[in-house]
């Protein structure tokens, strides 16, 4: 199962078992939902934007280990970032999961390099990211009435 431990690295299993920032964010003012109709994976991302920075971020939904771990990791990466920085981080992540080329520095996102050998799973790995980017582009919502 060498390929599989490439895919399901410890970082991923850990984020899957103990997701960070999981749950709806009551104070969110940006929300977006993503789904993968092929497999039924769902992911909602809740963001509280203060100025142009992500002050708080959370997610919920259901899906495979890859999609859940990636969403969890994504929230840890995006906190405190601007929309432009978030886009850059996604571009980097997307490069990793589609090419398998991990960055030099050791980082948690490098754990997702194994995804590139499982092309059908790339959509899983990017689901939460897409939702987050869509949330950043969305109209402000009044979280309290949501």
């Amino acid at each position: 199962m060498s390929d599989l431990t490439d895919l399901y690295q410890q970082v991923i299993l850990d984020h899957n078992r103990r997701p960070r920032n999981r749950g709806k964010l009551p104070t969110a003012n940006r929300v977006a939902h993503g789904d993968n109709p092929t497999c039924g994976d769902q992911c909602s991302v809740y963001i509280r934007l203060e100025g142009d920075r992500i002050a708080e971020i959370g997610f919920d939904g259901s899906g495979c280990a890859i999609s859940q771990a990636s969403a969890s990791l994504m929230t840890t990466q995006l906190k405190g970032k601007t929309a432009a920085e978030a886009q850059a981080l996604f571009d980097n992540f997307h490069h990793i999961v589609t090419t398998g080329e991990a960055p030099e520095e050791i980082s948690d996102v490098a754990a997702f390099a194994g995804v590139h050998s499982f092309p059908a799973r790339i959509k899983c790995a990017t689901l939460g990211w897409h939702a987050a980017l869509n949330a950043l582009k969305s109209e402000p919502t009044d979280a309290s009435t949501e």
Binding site: D3, G63, C64, A65
Partner: protein, 414 residues
């Protein structure tokens, strides 16, 4: 009836004999599509090599041979489903197209505000969305027969069915076999109930046609839809059985060559069924190859196949039950199980299960199985399905269980 030599039959399916990820393939996805015996591929080749021509309008030798083969396929299909008249068989791309044909043609012509279309909560999207949308279009009301019971004792609520079967119900469509729950419904009983209120019945036989005897007269249905590719036949061909009187009264579906009687610039007279419903060049080669699949299945015996598939599914269900944190879906005791079993593991999502099993050479399916509303109702975003056919073995089920044990261990981290 002597028991088929299952091991010998397995040799008839060349696709099975390959390695996947370095392991001998264990194909447990026949509910999605079945593998084909060599005789089907040979029939396909034979048609193209020796008789290929367009049908119906030709008078030269190849065209007459192609036409004869195509009509012989219709006759064989009629016999396979127990229809009295080959004109009651319309060739389509598959179950989905067959159901769309009935919904569009019969539905648009007969449904109106105040009418009820009744289906069940266990329908495949292909037997759900067409009815949902034709109801929206015609103003008819769509109602569902509920699925009730706990995970391993699921079934249609027959009392609710009888209450729902009011005289407003114009059509009742249901799956003969559920591709998610592994339940085989008593189609004859359901049709008899619906007939009492005068409802037209539509049976989705995608999951049963190649796995057990199916007889439209014994069932007493008005329409029955099926796919060739799930019954060891080629992709791209399937059929619709329809009672002749109903078919002849229905407006055409697709329009074009082959289904017309007289065309003028501003009006057209259509042929009677089945031609009326087969516009354009039909999928002749695949219809002809479907005959080889039907002959093959009947030679093995569909009773025997049903028993074999069911036995494997029961064997698998029993072994699966030992896995920690598993939810197994299935019919209530006493109701026949189709040759498949769906389950969900607490610690491992269906997609992870499928990817893991694939590394062990085992082909499973995970997801919503084109059954989103039901899965939502059951509180399962997805499930994993192992489905069996005549070429599967107990040893393959054993390999599945070993693989699943490893998966559970990996994800639960113990």
């Amino acid at each position: 009836m002597s028991t088929p030599d299952w091991a010998a039959l397995r040799a008839d399916f060349p696709t099975l004999h390959q390695d996947v990820n370095g392991k001998a393939l264990v194909y447990l996805d026949s509910a999605a599509t079945a593998q084909k015996p060599r005789v089907v591929l040979d029939a396909l080749q034979d048609f193209y090599l020796n008789h290929n021509a367009n049908v119906h309008r030709g008078l030269h030798a190849l065209s007459m041979r192609a036409t004869d083969s195509y009509e012989a396929a219709r006759l064989r299909t009629a016999k396979f489903v127990g229809a009295a008249d080959p004109a009651e068989i319309v060739f389509t791309r598959g179950t989905t197209e067959s159901i769309n044909l009935v919904a569009s043609s019969w539905g648009a012509a007969n449904l109106k505000k105040g009418d009820v279309v009744l289906i069940t909560e266990m329908e495949h999207h292909s037997n759900l969305v067409p009815w949902q949308q034709i109801a929206l279009r015609t103003g008819a009301t769509l109602r569902y027969v509920p699925v009730v019971g706990s995970d391993a004792e699921l079934g249609l609520d027959l009392d609710a069915l009888d209450r729902l079967l009011t005289p407003e119900v114009k059509l009742f469509a249901f799956g003969h076999g559920s591709n998610t729950l592994g339940i085989v419904n008593d189609a004859a009983d359901l049709c008899a109930r619906a007939r009492k209120v005068g409802a037209i019945t539509v049976v989705d036989a995608a999951q049963t046609i190649g796995h057990q005897p199916v007889d439209v007269r014994a069932i007493g249905c008005d329409f029955l839809a099926f796919s060739g590719h799930k019954m060891a036949g080629p992709t791209g061909i399937g059929g619709l059985y329809g009672r002749k009187a109903l078919l002849d009264a229905m407006p055409p579906y697709q329009l074009g060559g082959g289904m017309i009687s007289v065309v003028d610039f501003f009006e057209t007279k259509f042929k009677p069924s089945p031609e009326r419903f087969e516009a354009g060049t039909p999928n002749v080669a695949d219809a002809v190859a479907l005959v080889a699949a039907m002959d093959y299945l009947d030679a093995v015996g569909r009773e025997a196949i049903a028993a074999h598939d069911r036995e494997l599914a029961a064997y698998a269900a029993t072994a699966l039950a030992e896995l920690p944190g598993i939810r197994i879906l299935g019919p209530r005791p006493g109701q026949p199980r189709a040759g498949l079993v769906s389950f969900a593991l607490k610690d491992a999502h269906a997609h992870d299960v499928v990817t893991f099993a694939d590394q062990d050479g085992i082909a499973l399916r995970g997801g919503h199985h084109c059954n989103q509303p039901l899965m939502k109702k059951l509180g399962l975003p997805s499930s994993t399905r192992a489905s069996f056919y005549l070429y599967n073995t107990r040893e393959e089920v054993d390999r599945l269980i070993v693989s699943l044990r490893r998966i559970v261990k990996f994800f639960s981290g113990v």
